[in-house]
């Protein structure tokens, strides 16, 4: 019987490096470096185009 359940299926980690993402400290904190809650601007823009 399965004892382990997958909760998050991440996308394969790629190193796109287009640099269009926000500068980290422009966010709300100003005193800590948090990238884990940022979005990929490239994917967001592509999604906007596809949704048009």
């Amino acid at each position: 019987m399965a004892k382990i359940k997958l909760v998050a299926t991440p996308k394969k980690r790629t190193s796109v490096g287009c640099g269009e993402c926000r500068s980290t400290c422009q966010s709300a904190c100003k005193t800590s470096c948090t990238v884990g809650n940022q979005n990929c601007e490239k994917l967001e823009r592509e999604a906007k185009v596809n949704n048009k």
Binding site: T14, S15, G17, C21, S32, C33, G36, N37, E41, L43
Partner: protein, 443 residues
């Protein structure tokens, strides 16, 4: 590396390299510990049960979702500048006890940025932004609204020049709320992509540290301004941003106090001060702080399940399935390379926390060039240059911490400040649990 943890009776496996999250029971976490050569307790457990779990774990490993190998990727860092923090005013109409900026003037003169300096900062940003289309500019202080005229002129100028150069500017303002009313509030609401509003939570907590120039609590002078501003904000970005100190280690109450007033987008950060400061958060306080994050998480989940008085907490927002690419995750903070701060006289520093620290003076917007030796230090720092991050499960979330904190507390940009590491890890476990619980609620 697999990080095993639990929040209350919910047990998890977090595969650091692939970002996979699995829910399981306590027994599974003990088997994983055994497989990773860590201390474990499987006393009294039948060996066939352990073998069965190991088999299941190995099957998941084959799918690339557990025990994934470390991806050693050095970041590609360009010389493009994408963001500037303009210190439009090194003066303040409050005198908060914990102000890292020395009550607004960064231990220097009470200066106001001229439009001429701001204009040159805009030109500097555009000229150094290369192919990047979206540029960020934030107005900071001191209290930036004390120099509102320059903010308005700068926004107008940046939009005009940006249009000519094919750039779009995203503006942010931080404010203590004292002057946030009438036409100013309305203009900021229209022009700012994001607004960061400083408020610490409960009235008594706020007033104990955020004082007026006449030593009165400032809460009564800012609260209506902030509430009205948020009410008119619609679906545009904002954050109420508070600070907690050793005087309010029960800060979950401050987060919920803000949420209950309808200020739902919340960030609350630990104070950054030195050991001799009366508000300093010491190592001994960490267990209490970690427990407080869990208490906040329980309240967050309770409200989520009941669909009432909902709020967002900056450090609980995490998207395991999308998010930024690996390059960004190993790049560390962009300060000193792609992000800089500009003081009222036009001097350029790696970020707002270095302002007026002459050891880190990188140039001036009128010179139009940067000290490349200092820039090299910031450009070369990354996740792989920080040995203590190697075995940390939160490394791809924080990218090795705040460069200023690392330098100010440990004298080394590559040596993360342990206190923030511990808090980051505690918050991340809560965020992972929330991510899982949300999935369950959404079905």
């Amino acid at each position: 590396m697999v990080h095993t943890f639990n929040i209350d009776d919910r047990y998890y496996l977090f595969d650091v390299e692939s970002s996979s999250l699995h829910v399981c029971d306590k027994l599974v976490t003990e088997v994983v510990k055994k497989m990773q050569g860590e201390e474990y307790d499987l006393s009294g457990v039948d060996s066939t049960v352990i073998e069965e779990i190991e088999k299941e774990l190995n099957e998941i490993k084959e799918q690339g979702l557990l025990f994934s190998k470390e991806i050693k990727t050095l970041p590609i860092k360009s010389n493009l500048v994408k963001a500037l923090c303009l210190h439009v005013c090194h003066d303040c109409n409050l005198k908060c006890k914990y102000c890292f900026a020395g009550q607004g003037n960064y231990k220097g003169a009470n200066e106001y940025m001229s439009f001429e300096v701001a204009k040159n900062a805009v030109d500097f940003l555009i000229a150094n932004s290369g192919s990047r289309e979206i540029l960020e500019m934030d107005f900071f202080g001191g209290e930036p609204l004390m120099n509102m005229d320059v903010i308005k002129k700068t926004v107008e100028y940046a939009k005009e020049e940006g249009k000519k150069a094919g750039k779009t500017f995203l503006f942010t303002t931080t404010t203590n709320g004292l002057l946030l009313d009438g036409e100013t509030a309305s203009w900021l609401n229209d022009e700012m992509e994001n607004v960061v509003l400083s408020i610490d939570g409960r009235k008594e907590v706020h007033d104990a540290v955020r004082a007026t120039k006449t030593d009165k609590g400032s809460y009564e002078y800012i609260i209506d301004n902030i509430k009205n501003f948020v009410k008119n904000r619609g679906d545009k970005h904002y954050y109420v941003r508070g600070t907690f100190t050793n005087k309010n280690l029960d800060f979950a109450n401050d987060v919920t106090a803000l949420a209950d007033m309808g200020l739902t987008e919340i960030s609350l950060e630990p104070v950054v001060t030195k050991e001799d400061d009366e508000l300093y958060i010491s190592k001994e306080m960490l267990p209490k702080i970690k427990e407080e994050y869990k208490r906040l998480e329980r309240e967050y989940l309770k409200r989520l399940k009941n669909k009432e008085r909902l709020f967002n907490f900056f450090h609980f927002a995490i998207d395991l399935e999308n998010g930024v690419c690996l390059n960004k995750r190993v790049s560390a903070c962009g300060a000193g390379n792609e992000y800089f701060s500009v003081t009222p006289c036009g001097d350029i520093y790696p970020c707002h926390q270095f302002a007026n620290n002459k050891d880190y003076l990188m140039g001036n917007v009128f010179e139009k060039k940067l000290n490349e030796d200092i820039r090299k230090v910031f450009k070369e720092t990354n996740l792989l240059s920080k040995p203590t991050c190697k075995d940390c499960f939160a490394k791809y979330h924080c990218s090795g911490g705040c460069a200023a904190n690392n330098i100010n507390f440990n004298g080394d940009i590559n040596k993360p400040y342990e206190m923030t590491c511990e808090m980051m890890k505690a918050r991340m476990e809560c965020a992972l649990d929330i991510f899982s619980q949300k999935k369950e609620i959404d079905g």
